[in-house]
Symmetry: C2
Subunit: 208 residues, 2 copies
Amino acid sequence: MKLQVAIDRVTLENLLESVSYLDGVVDVIEVGTSLIKDYGINALENVTKKGHQSEVLFDLKTIDEGVYEFEKGFSANADTLTVMASSSIDTIEQVYALTVNQKKNILIDLLEVDETKIEKLQQFDEAIFGLHYSHDKKDQDFDAVKAVAEFHAKFPNIKKIAVAGGIDIEQAKRLAKQGIVERIIVGGKIMNSEKPLDMAKKFMEVIK
Amino acid sequence: MKLQVAIDRVTLENLLESVSYLDGVVDVIEVGTSLIKDYGINALENVTKKGHQSEVLFDLKTIDEGVYEFEKGFSANADTLTVMASSSIDTIEQVYALTVNQKKNILIDLLEVDETKIEKLQQFDEAIFGLHYSHDKKDQDFDAVKAVAEFHAKFPNIKKIAVAGGIDIEQAKRLAKQGIVERIIVGGKIMNSEKPLDMAKKFMEVIK
């Protein structure tokens, strides 16, 4: 199981600093949607220097104009890009083909889609399927372990699952033991802690 | 009926140049999603100088973290921001309240949502509802006039409708005559024409 650390709502300088100490320590560094929309993909090219050791994911949350956004994102050296499951199937087909062609990775964000749509998306079998809770939901009692178990029972053919949503050290341990997800995504619990690097290392330890 | 001109996939310099000659000529200037994601909201603050005459819309396509994105967008002097109808109701409630509170405008983008979702969105009665076709759809025979008539028949209580999708001069005339939509959105047909300013004026003439 991989650890993906999400960085959000910081300055470009803070982002670069965080990336420099997380690189090679965590499995995946996520450049969050807030950074994409605040600074733009063009400014983020320098985040991902050639030779970086951790996988770098840009949370583009593409919903349309898929090929344009994915070409931009991969040109800016991202290893993995995200598309909304609520996009049209045509959009997802196009970005999936482009991703496979460039030997990169794609995460399909399952925010606010129903089971009928997920069934149609199972064909994209190399994609990572991202299970998470809207940041804006009022009702925030999301249990990652339970959500993953239920999702896996419904969609046993989906190979790669990512899960996000308030995951702490205890839940990370349980998710690792559960052995279903390909990666967990942790944001604030690491980046807003007093010593983010130490906390990231602690997460890496408990999931091994 | 208003004319909204969408600018996409250009350099920042081109954007500023286009805005300078379109300002005061067209009703609404749209800074497209490609520009948001390529350059970031922070860099777009200068697009909308105090005292601009045309309404300025940032096509943020917000899907989550609504309050954060809308506060950023309005701080950067946008008059109107967009949210995806496929967002959670909580997200839309929050950005709608923020928009009304700031006396600004909101456009809810109906891309890929079904009628059940639209029914739930009717409560946001000051919002503009954006009817359009995915850029990525293979099947591109979208008839704006027909789509508007059908939508209006199904949702007679929705007051403000915007429509986009390959609208040319002839369709603009027909939409003006039809008298249902609050605005039409035209991108390439103006911005990729030989003389965008002349073409924008031509559209403005035929819709009066």
